[in-house]
Symmetry: C2
Subunit: 521 residues, 2 copies
Amino acid sequence: MFNGHQRSIIQRLLSSSSSSTTTNYVLNEPNEPKIITNEIPGPKSRKLIDDLNKIQNAGAIQLFVDYEKSIGNYLVDVDGNTYLDIYSQISSIPLGYNHPALIEAVKDPKNISSFINRPALGILPPKTFNDQLHSALLSIAPKGLNEIQTMACGSCSVENALKGKNSQPYHYHFFPNLIGSIFFFCRSKIIYPVVCFYYRTWQRGQPPTEEDMRTCMTNEQPGSPKLSIMSFMGGFHGRTFGALSCTHSKAIHKVDIPAFDWPIANFPRYKYPLNDYLDYNQREDDRCLTMVEDLIEKYSHNGKPVAGMIIEPIQSEGGDYHGSKYFFQQLRKICTKYNVAMVIDEVQTGGGPTGKYWAHEHFEMEQPPDIVTFSKKMLIGGFYYRPMFRPDKPYRIFNTWLGDPSKLLLLDQVVKVVRKENLLKRIEETGDYLLKHLEQIQNQYPSILMNARGLGTFCAIDFSTPELRDQAIRKLHQNGVHCGGSGTATLRFRTTLTFENRHVDQFVERFDRTLRSLSKQ
Amino acid sequence: MFNGHQRSIIQRLLSSSSSSTTTNYVLNEPNEPKIITNEIPGPKSRKLIDDLNKIQNAGAIQLFVDYEKSIGNYLVDVDGNTYLDIYSQISSIPLGYNHPALIEAVKDPKNISSFINRPALGILPPKTFNDQLHSALLSIAPKGLNEIQTMACGSCSVENALKGKNSQPYHYHFFPNLIGSIFFFCRSKIIYPVVCFYYRTWQRGQPPTEEDMRTCMTNEQPGSPKLSIMSFMGGFHGRTFGALSCTHSKAIHKVDIPAFDWPIANFPRYKYPLNDYLDYNQREDDRCLTMVEDLIEKYSHNGKPVAGMIIEPIQSEGGDYHGSKYFFQQLRKICTKYNVAMVIDEVQTGGGPTGKYWAHEHFEMEQPPDIVTFSKKMLIGGFYYRPMFRPDKPYRIFNTWLGDPSKLLLLDQVVKVVRKENLLKRIEETGDYLLKHLEQIQNQYPSILMNARGLGTFCAIDFSTPELRDQAIRKLHQNGVHCGGSGTATLRFRTTLTFENRHVDQFVERFDRTLRSLSKQ
């Protein structure tokens, strides 16, 4: 599973871990949230929002934040209000604010160069690049995905993963000439899972022709083929044109923007508690799986064959919709059957909040996904892929920066802290504690709350109406909890990896107070 | 042109500038390049390339670099070779390696927070955000583009600019309901330049219907309309799906990847020296301009009306093709006539290398472009836009990070150094010196070199064949110059802003040596 270099790095990390378990970092967090202004946002935030609104649409700004004063799981705004943060910058702060391990990393003189000399990683990587890829990324890679491509953000990770899987099925050699480039392709002897290139090669019965190379330059068929990527209703994968064609969570993201005609299947919608609705939920899984197969067949017959699918392990923006082990296991089998590349988008779920680094590992599929995308809590974007998906030629997956070594350096610190302090185990325990309390509280307020669910601290609970959810979020802010919603009526939990039971207690007390005031209305 | 807040920041900057002109930073650069290995890449780079190739396709890697030892305009590799760098990480290093102003910024304790607490800028910006937007970005904004959106990289800047201009023509209010969102639109009283939304609103004779909102969720018409973005043959705008549909520089970037059917016009191809071919070049301009108008007409009649166009001031990847003042002035008029939004992509040209912060300012168009995208030398991605292009609602242009305040902080230092040391003026002078030498040297080697051209140090020269260009680049590496090509047979100059005449002299001496050995073959 690991090569010699990977093993030596992991052994070094494990030995450093065992020798220094007593030097855990201590976050000097406040004892509890404290709100000192009458309104949220306070007057200083309001003033700054008005100023910002003169130079861009500032309508989404919630607060201006004093990040120097924020610490651990507590966010401090410019008005001096201290919030318990269960949203962590849309799930993108791994260890909490101003973690000592990260402060040390910036202060270390040998790291300064990484912060100020951002290289073109695809041509001129820094001398530490390989070690950091192994230490920060491959040491926590999803099982079976032993290769890695870094990117700058989540959208670019998704866009390039969707292209990336197109680049496998044959090898070619090229001979540039004066008027352009004519490419001669020869098919590989290895049979890869079907991806766009493979499909086109099979369809043509030969490598790309001169006509393919010419027509792609003007976006025309056959060079720019009508292949498709399957996605799921309620899914979110980013808001660039390719990713947006796979995103179906809110109409406001999409209306009046051109999109690809790609197939969209249903993602299961279960009834809770899961154990009371076993038959119903299994039928729901089967209904969605049948739709997936029907769409693959339909699109293969209408000239837009499905080269790959992209799916979240938990639909995180769309409303915290979970798919069962059975659903994902069967989906993997369908992808294998039809040679559709399976891309699991772990931009929001990845990096530990479900109690594993990768949420899809909870599903115990018989084969790994083909590509796994990440960003957010990982601090750097990118994707892991099965070795058979390695781009066959340089420059096929390429841009100027391809990520940022300074983020890789910070991620390396995060991964070390997580390992040393066994934070994934703790998140699993904190998650159990949180979910138990959410179930209790929904029993107390059955007319307002339902469907408490989650993995690790990646939890959610639904409100009976969107209006009640929105009111609850506003009141929680006023009660000192920074939080956010997903879907239309859901409160989502997106904590750091240093979230503990005492933070759960603080939340529960304030949530109860919030619900009491809502239920009195 | 500036509001009060902008003026006060600029005045503060100007006063700090005048009071400290004697404290210019000194780059302790080596005296000259020095190559100590027999081959490039040297043995240590080769070993690291082999190692990296085990976990990703490392075929494009040129060198592994010791960024701690690199300084100013000199790149030092892991084998200890020192190169004069005229490529600067594909034009993305503004002041040279390890510039003292940037080192100071990282060392400053009050900045640590920016490097380790990356916020979701669209909802929770840091307290310094407004000041930094004014100081680092708006103080150097293209004339008439007084609003600003930050992004993480060049591709995301382009993708969101293309969407962004879709979001202007009407105002709307929305009322979410349980099954989704129904939006009620009312047309603005202001007539904006045509963009996707405006066109659709006009076409419908009413705001988006419930059908629009429903169909966009499944990528179908009318909600996902068949609007188009015009681009130019030879242009490069990135490699995500939307940007790639506008990119037409190399087939290898595009073949077998689905693309939008959007119109592609010709970008002028001049004969040099320009003064010897005035008539020919003007006819070339007119030919391309006629094609632009014809395509706009054609696509408006075939149901895919042109909502915007994207164009580089100099086609920088495609082969350093320049367009004349006349061409761009006329193009601006055509965009105004047909209400097509004009997006100028300054990702590679922006940030100073042409002697102005924005290359399009050389064209003196009667109206500014509508949107200008940037990244690379600006350290952060984003786009400026005319106030009429402000998104009408929050969350229309949105993602988790929307850039990175730590990059904004570094850019702020860069802008201060450029102002204090008058670097744009110096780049203009160095560029004149460089171009004069390129013209001299092409006269010495008329069978190999031609078409020396450029603005500032953003210069280029063509070789008689791609093979000779590729050989020259390899030999220049061996002679201690790190450089790269563009198009099929062009050598491009992408220097830092601290490039001086003595660097030109060092290059010219080594270029001459390279050409002598080539011409002896």
